[in-house]
Symmetry: C2
Subunit: 401 residues, 2 copies
């Protein structure tokens, strides 16, 4: 594949946060602008939900520590890894090897990039869930892998995420060597059931497939939702890489921290690559990991309660407007389907931004089959988010077919 | 190339900072351990040379700014780019396009990775200087480019860096599409003369070659040394990417900041790729750019004076011990040649660490022809560095052939 081709497939025009670079000319607006506080649903609002208490102080402590904190091993400072390994073993229910089975990265994006690079090369078949986080697909394409899509029926029975397990086995049978997926699913908030995770583990085990599971939002779980960690579900330790990070849930995105843990053979490759990609997660930022899984008593429960309240209010609005969405069991994403419109969905997204000050991410980023949906990160100011969704519904009416 | 092969070529065992992970068993030590403050010459000591005044306060200001600073465009916050573009245009003597011709990255390593990825794909021929920063070679290998080496006679006449311009033209004639090099040269500290830069520009222009120039150390220049910026030397703006960063010179490595500026077409590719590699340079860290090129009056001059004093003391010791080195005109690297030894150079490097508490980077990292040299980053405590070099010379004597 030529570089021209390779990079033309790496479109970021609709990627969250890139709207600033978009052109808005040529839009035919119907009626007046809808006033209201602009809301950028393309990512969470760290001003509405502020960082973990003590995060900045930990960073400052890292700066005071000086050289030892600025220059760490490429995989991150040993003491920080040792502390994290215990916490992550407890959280996920399976042992974590601090010395050889863990790497600290610049954000979970950094971890995902390294994990895909360590497992996928030209022509390798890779199973990708549809819909799922857009970078999964883009990374496989960048490394010239071949994507075997597996559908997620996320609007079906809510007791399961809705993965088509027959299609998954077909993909493995056709030679997929790697499966990449997020749990909870991004963009729908679906959490895979114990049965689904068990079967993914069993299939991966029997076909010798490596699984990269992005569990970024696995701490932000709503009442009544169970969660099964793949790495503790009977899959061989050498066949799974788990990715997490103190990011969205903890509003620590500004520090760019992630962690991947699992198969030492793959972690070793990831470290070798990190050495030429970015050397290491920013040394001083690594110190912020000390606050992770050590939040003040009740802090996470309150954060979950507040998000659940926003989720329920927005879902009620979308439901009343005939815009169906999966009830997210975890995370802060909502993925409603737009009603029939007289404009293309992509155009509606641009209109929405220009006429109502509301930014959402088009469904085409997540699957070719979800062009009529949009993703909202509802980690926002509650009132502003509610009002923004009301403006969105009003515009869906104006442009409705 | 299989993944196994690809990653086995990406060795990091001797990479700076990775010594912690090395095995030291099986070494046959001669005589006693040499006591003294351990010195890690593999990178600078940010405790000896502390970060730019105000850096931490700028970071804190970024955290206070909240969401707007945590989530920036992938290429970095627009206001920070605008400010930087002016400063870099003034420093380099050619205009910088803040909107389309600049990207902020996680460290200069991040910029280098993106620049090589944006220009080199499988089978592309790439001219690489020997010796030069080891990541240049590793990056080209990772993207399966073919390396055409160009020698640098850095121990020759000191008025030139010593690039073999005939060999460079040969490489271009043989079809090299990209040249990657550092100026000042890492590991030798050689600065390319105005004539050399002019000829590189002219050759690149006439053969349509893209040049990636890593100018990381171009601010730390010793008295009497001129510096010519390639981008202001007659090369087409569409053919050059310049990489810099507030890192070693300013002791800001712990924040992981870099910047690439130049050809908009390539910067656009780099941003697309950054979106799946790490999203962006850590949002809060970006705020630290405000201190760059805005240091207190006289601060940089004093930093240069102190480094020059260390340089001269170490050079005098190496000279007296019969270990020739280029006099670095810029930067904080010294690259002396070891005398004839009865142990292999790689073993001597391990002995040095175990018996004298002195870490250096083996010359094989920089070129296959410099196995008998080692690199020292002399941005260290002056007394400790001097004593460490004395221990090194004593061991060279003990193990001498």
């Amino acid at each position: 594949m030529s570089l021209l081709e390779k990079f033309s497939r790496l479109g970021t025009d609709n990627a969250p946060g890139q709207e600033l670079r978009q052109k808005t000319d040529g839009l035919q607006l119907r009626g007046d602008v809808l006033p209201g506080t602009p809301v950028d649903f393309s990512h969470g609002d760290v001003d509405a939900f502020t960082p973990t208490p003590g995060a900045f102080e930990s960073f400052a402590e890292g700066v005071r520590k000086g050289g030892a904190q600025a220059y760490t091993e490429y995989r991150g400072a040993a003491a920080i890894r040792a502390d994290l390994a215990e916490k992550l073993a407890q959280f996920t229910g399976a042992p974590v090897d601090a010395t050889d089975g863990m790497i600290l990265t610049p954000g979970t994006q950094g971890a995902l990039f390294l994990a895909v690079a360590a497992t996928v090369s030209r022509g390798d078949k890779v199973a990708i869930v549809q819909p799922d986080y857009f970078a999964n697909r883009k990374l496989v394409e960048f490394f010239e892998g071949e994507i075997l899509p597996v559908q997620l029926d996320y609007l079906g029975a809510q007791a399961e995420a809705g993965l088509d397990l027959n299609q998954l086995e077909d993909a493995f049978r056709q030679g997929a060597r790697v499966l990449v997926f997020s749990n909870p699913n991004n963009p729908t908030g679906a959490v895979y059931s114990a049965a689904e995770i068990g079967q993914i583990a069993a299939l991966a085990q029997s076909y010798g497939v490596t699984v990269i599971v992005d569990q970024l939002y696995s701490r932000l779980r709503y009442s009544g939702s169970d969660y099964t960690h793949l790495r503790a579900a009977g899959i061989g330790a050498e066949n799974v890489i788990t990715i997490m990070g103190p990011s969205k849930t903890e509003s620590l995105s500004g520090y760019r921290l992630g962690v991947a843990f699992g198969a030492p053979k793959l972690i070793e490759r990831m470290e070798k690559l990190q050495a030429i990609v970015s050397l290491r997660a920013a040394g001083y930022s690594q110190a912020v990991f000390s606050t992770w899984f050590s939040e003040p008593e009740g802090w996470m429960a309150e954060r979950i309660r507040l998000h659940q309240a926003i989720r329920d209010d927005l879902l009620a609005r979308f439901d009343a407007a005939g815009m169906p969405a999966r009830v997210p069991q975890a995370g802060s994403y909502l993925f409603p389907r737009l009603p029939k419109l007289e404009v293309a969905p992509g155009e509606f997204v641009r209109i929405l931004r220009q006429q109502a000050g509301v930014s959402v991410t088009p469904g085409t980023e997540f699957s070719p089959h979800t062009a009529h949906s949009v993703r909202l990160n509802f980690s926002q100011d509650h009132r502003a988010a509610l009002h923004a969704v009301e403006r969105m519904i009003e515009l869906a009416r104006r442009y409705g077919a």
